[in-house]
Amino acid sequence: MTPLLEVDRVSAGYGAVQALAEVSLHVMPGEIVTLIGANGAGKSTLLMTICGDPKPRMGRILLGGEDITGEATHLTMRRGLAQSPEGRRIFPRMSVYENLLMGAEALVKGDPKPQLEQVFTLFPRLKERLAQRGGTLSGGEQQMLAIGRALMSKPKLLLLDEPSLGLAPLVVRQIFGAIRALNAETGLTVLLVEQNANQALRLAHRGYVLVNGRITMEGEGLALLARPEIRDAYLGGGHG
């Protein structure tokens, strides 16, 4: 079985800064894979590199077996890849409905209605808020909107960048529950970038640990969670 996403010894960075050094990882279809690491480890850079901005300096990126290395971002995003970016980045002055429609932009053809229904089933709150301006939503609702917007393009692979950022624990649980349900019901493949190692590793089938732009560990989610060095480094010495 070919992996849905394969990152093969990729190095990337901004200017003189090398953010990623020969990172390799793969995501199989139907998996939830999480990438955990501290601030500045290069997690977001890796997601951005997969999307084509910045372009990798070395290495290859394959999506569904096809080489997408160095391809323009807007073309890559039409290949069944969607991202919910770090910090949510919804369009604050546009309505929730318009925000969602912007996500359908990369749909090559067709009616956005079925996706819209899927998003409403997943996040009924968004349906209530449809006419509201994006900027007036609460943090959790904005995160739901960011994920919903990404789902509008009917992706095969969903890239989630820190969906728990700045949210109350209860809301985080709600969002993670939605991701789990999405994966279980539709078989959507998810690559999840998180600082919240505890919850992310519990949710994911497999995980990678990124330290200073290098993958230092990989394994099954719960197995990683049990490793003492993970507990020390990311879970505040076992308090998680």
């Binding site: 999307c51 901005d53 323009a72 971002t73 807007h74 890559t76 995003m77 039409r78 969607a82 991202q83 919910s84 970016p85 980045r89 919804i90 369009f91 604050p92 002055r93 546009m94 309505s95 409905y97 318009e98 429609l101 912007m102 996500g103 932009e105 990369a106 449809l130 006419a131 509201q132 301006r133 900027g135 007036t136 917007r149 990404a150 393009s153």
Partner: protein, 446 residues
């Protein structure tokens, strides 16, 4: 440490001052403003150099005038602070009765404006002067709507919009001069040329935003003007181009002589100068409405939504697979094209153009119209053009003081309505009932 961290009764005092302390604060604020004003007015007003008796410079003091100005600043600031409350300039952004009433009026205003504009030449008492003013206002309405695509919708701050106006005007003038092409052939060509220059400007600035973009576009506007001045053999240089052909009524020229083959002769009318003025009026009205129609249509299309999304968050747009390059270039090209149309109209109306008509102040006025109208609002831009250009005319009697009135009016509008006259935004698409989205409470400059 903020006031609320201190806790206790002291904090409550700071948050909700007694009337007397409010007056104190206002007095303090006004005194600070007066000190700043004094620092400016003493060197600017109180000290004046005149040519003295011996031919040298003599210093003359004008303390009285400076004191009067400082006093005005003190009183004005005091009134403003007392009126708007303790926090000094607290803009009235909360959606209140103001916003509601404005929205209701807005729904009726657009058809009303259109109706008045359509019948204006037939209204008794409307003369040549009023029609000329109407043409001028409509030209700026059209330019404002054109720039609104770039600045208001796509959020790309363009300080050199007048360049496209110039390209359009010179396209028509030169094509008519060198090849004898008629206005109706040149009009689309002028738009195409301007759009081409829009794309040409767009490419190097694709990665720029905000201040940096503003500076480059400003330079671009100046480059076009300087080229027009210095390429004298082609453009006529500072002398400009004279004798630009006037437009014909679909092949029928407007002529005072009358007779066969002229507009008056064909329709059996008494030859009159006003025919051409009325025709020009309807021409610019039509062009402006075309601009408006295209913009409104595009706002409902994915392209228009992409422009607005680009204004909101470029990185998010990239993440959603929107082609940012084509989105930006299309905004530049379309905005420029309407500027080009307006330029061709300007050339045929004036019959004379020179680089002096395309200075930076024109760009600034058009941008002021867009900002004053409320970035992105079509009706707001139209009202702002009417207020600004009409205001220029109304206060013509004040001579150089009218710039002061104009500047003061802009400050007042921006204090009262920091998001422009129409700061709300109606979603271009909705499921069920549309609801106006207030632009208030969102950070400025977004």
């Amino acid at each position: 440490m903020s006031a609320s961290d201190r806790g206790g009764p002291q904090a409550r005092d700071v948050n909700r001052p007694r009337p007397s302390s409010r007056l104190q604060l206002a007095l303090k604020d006004a005194l600070v403003a007066t000190a700043v004003a004094a620092a400016l007015f003493v060197p600017l007003v109180a000290l004046r150099t005149d040519i003295g008796a011996g031919g040298g410079l003599a210093l003359r003091f004008r303390w009285k005038e400076a004191a009067i100005l400082c006093g005005l600043v003190f009183l004005g600031r005091l009134a403003l602070v007392l009126w708007t409350g303790r926090r000094g300039l607290r803009p009235s952004t909360a959606p209140g009765p103001w916003t509601d009433r404005l929205q209701q009026a807005g729904r009726l205003a657009a058809p009303a404006f259109l109706a008045v504009a359509l019948v204006l030449p037939a209204i008794p008492g409307i003369d040549r002067y009023e029609l000329d003013l109407g043409i001028l206002v409509l030209t700026y309405v059209m330019l404002g709507w054109g720039l609104n695509i770039v600045v208001g919708l796509a959020g790309l701050l363009d300080l050199g919009y007048v360049a496209f106006y110039a390209v359009g005007a010179y396209s028509y003038a030169l094509l008519a001069q060198y090849f004898g092409l008629s206005f109706w052939i040149c009009l689309p060509l002028a738009g195409i040329f301007a759009a081409f220059w829009g794309i040409l400007l767009g490419f190097p600035v694709l990665r720029l935003r905000g201040d940096y973009l503003a500076i480059v576009t400003l330079a671009f506007g100046e480059i076009i003007r300087v080229v027009l001045i210095n390429w004298a053999s082609f453009t006529g240089g500072p002398n400009g181009i004279t004798g630009i052909p006037r437009p014909s009524f679909f092949g029928l020229p407007f002529s005072m002589a009358g007779g066969e083959g002229t507009f008056a002769g064909f329709f059996g009318l008494e030859p009159s100068v006003s025919h051409r003025v009325i025709f020009l009026y309807y021409l610019i009205l039509g062009l402006a409405l075309l601009t408006n129609w295209v913009t409104i249509r595009l706002r409902r299309q994915p392209l228009g939504r992409a422009w607005e999304a680009l204004r909101e968050d470029e990185i998010a747009c990239r993440a959603l697979g929107i082609n940012v390059t084509t989105t930006k270039l299309s905004a530049f090209a379309l905005g420029a094209m309407f500027g080009g149309f307006a330029g061709a109209f300007f050339a045929t109306r004036q019959a004379f153009i020179s680089p002096e008509s395309f200075t930076f102040i024109e760009s600034a006025i058009i941008l002021a119209i867009v900002v004053l109208g409320g970035l992105g609002s079509q009706i707001g831009v139209a009202v702002a053009a009417l207020v600004l250009i009409g205001g220029f005319e109304v206060f013509r009697g004040l001579e150089e003081w009218r710039m002061l009135v104009f500047g003061g009016a802009m400050v007042v509008i921006m204090v009262l309505r920091p998001r422009g006259l129409v700061g709300t935004r109606t979603p271009s698409i909705a499921l069920g009932k549309k609801r106006t989205i207030s632009g208030d409470l969102v950070g400025e400059g977004r």
